[in-house]
Amino acid sequence: MDISLKNVEYRYQVDTPFERLAIKDVSIDIPAGTFLAIIGHTGSGKSTVLQHLNALLKPTGGEVVLGDKVITADKKQKNLKEVRQRVGIVFQFPEHQLFEETVEKDICFGPMNFGVSEKEAKIRAREAIAHVGLSEEILEKSPFDLSGGQMRRVAIAGVLAMNPDVIVLDEPTAGLDPRGRKEIMDMFSDLHKQRKLSTILVTHSMEDASRYADKIVIMHSGQVYRTGTPLEIFSNPEELIKMGLDVPEVVKFQQKLERAFQRKFSKTCLTIEEITEEISSFLKRGDVQ
């Protein structure tokens, strides 16, 4: 499903003394199959953008195109249910939303709410639990007897069981240990490829944005500040640092080396392997240009 935001504006509490402009003139194209990362400070408008991706919010200006649905301020929209089934959102700390007696019931709740039969929902629960790397025995357990990491996976399985075309992830690794973080991100990366999903990742982690995304959008003060591939975005680290954003460790390290050696490397490195190669060839040549 292709998604596109065209000059989207959103104001909270319109026509009240509390009216506040949250985002304006936001245009983002997300063709089917894209892995997009949205980065920016707390308060930059990331979460407001996120809520437009499955019509939880209706723009107060511009238009949001979700597949064949066009959502604008002045048009009343019916049948948003289909959109919400096709775009699954994994909110921050999704494990806080678990509520059923068993893991199986919890995972089945979403699909059954969208009219899927109990039998079909159970089949999907089985698939989804395997996709998030848990064993089937866990289906019979109470979600509240699981560890934090397992609970998060169950919550994610609940979103996958709706068979979405697009999956939106809001800080999916917050609070996890380094291994848990890597496992969850690798899992989303595999799902993205296997299920041919569009994946939209809202994150503070520049490492994840640079490693997993094809395209990065930087939000700043409610607007799109920049859009590009990780290489394009991180080729200009000074600009990001000036805005108080992080850059990946490798990029930071390259900056320090370039400053010490007073020489620019031939390219911006995004992985530790790339930069090792650059340093190695540079030291072995031993020239300072």
Binding site: H41, T42, G43, S147, G148, G149, A174, G175, L176, D177, P178, R179, G180, H204, G244, L245, D246, E249, V250, K252, F253, K256, L257, A260, F261, I272, E273, I275, T276, I279, S280, L283, G286
Partner: protein
């Protein structure tokens, strides 16, 4: 010789008496004025330990001594005056309707006279640079600002020890740096002891000492230098290695002139530069 401030003697703890041990035979000392980082995978017992230090739970076996006091139901209130806690979620620890009310809350509970209270609240907020926000409502603050107010609430009680239980894990990079910088300054100016329970290994690399927890037990303790030599062992424990160590390792494996696993990028750059200029 550093003075030992807190002793944990052979602590074991279970949440559910029929269940597994959350902590098992844990012993270590906390020294006056140090920055101690406690790291470990989710479920390794780190946060359980924080709760025991503050008497939110009591160990079934073993004992904890703070200063001269042995932690028990009778001494828990005295000990809580000496150990202040800052938790993970900035939104779960506000009780006051304004910033200054919130900081005053702990003092009110301790029956501090009003005049002294006003002064302490102001000083505490000043030292976390939040004295411009006295009458602000908490929900107007950023995550980093909220955590700084939480720290002020702890400081106002003038504890010897501050425990940060993943206090920066829900903040964005700017908020995280704000909070850590605040704590660094406090430690220096007030000679506080800092215990930081964290997943952030770059932060742990800057501590004086690290304790690695695994499955409810102390796996290893030492200086950051010693701990990060463990290398792949840490990865096997579900942890990670700080970037400068990873980088040193990669370069060393290619026989490039790197003498050791550096803990800071600056050191590593300096070594590469020095060896290059000799060539």
């Amino acid at each position: 010789m550093k003075k030992s401030l807190v002793q944990l003697n052979d602590i074991s703890f279970k949440y559910d008496l029929d269940g597994d041990y959350a902590l098992r035979n844990v012993s270590f000392d906390i020294y006056e004025g140090e920055w101690l980082a406690i790291v470990g995978h989710n479920g390794s017992g780190k946060s359980t330990m924080a709760k025991l230090l503050n008497g939110l739970n009591f160990p079934q076996e073993g004992s904890i001594t703070v200063g001269e006091l042995k932690l028990s139901e009778e001494t828990v209130w005295d000990i809580r005056e000496r150990i202040g806690m800052v938790f993970q979620n900035p939104d779960n620890q506000f009780v006051g309707t304004t910033v200054q009310d919130d900081v005053a809350f702990g003092l009110e509970n301790h029956g501090i006279p009003r005049e002294e209270m006003v002064e302490r609240v102001y000083k505490a907020l000043e030292s976390v640079k939040m004295d411009q926000f006295l009458d602000q409502e908490p929900h107007h603050l950023s995550g980093g600002q909220k955590q700084r107010v939480a720290i002020a609430g702890v400081l106002a009680l003038r504890p010897d020890i501050i425990v940060l239980d993943e206090a920066t894990s829900m903040l964005d990079p700017r908020g995280r740096e704000e909070v850590l910088e605040t704590v660094r300054v406090l430690k220096k100016n007030h000679e506080m002891t800092v215990i930081s329970i964290t997943h952030d290994l770059e932060e742990a690399a800057k501590a004086d000492r690290i304790i690695v927890m695994n499955k409810g037990q102390v796996y290893k303790q030492g200086t950051p230098e010693e701990i990060f030599q463990l290398d792949e062992e840490l990865v096997a424990l579900g942890l990670d290695i700080p970037f400068p160590v990873k980088m040193s390792k990669m370069l060393k494996s290619l026989d490039l002139p790197v003498s050791k696993y550096h803990l800071s990028e600056e050191e590593l750059v300096a070594e590469l530069w020095t060896s290059h200029s000799k060539m």
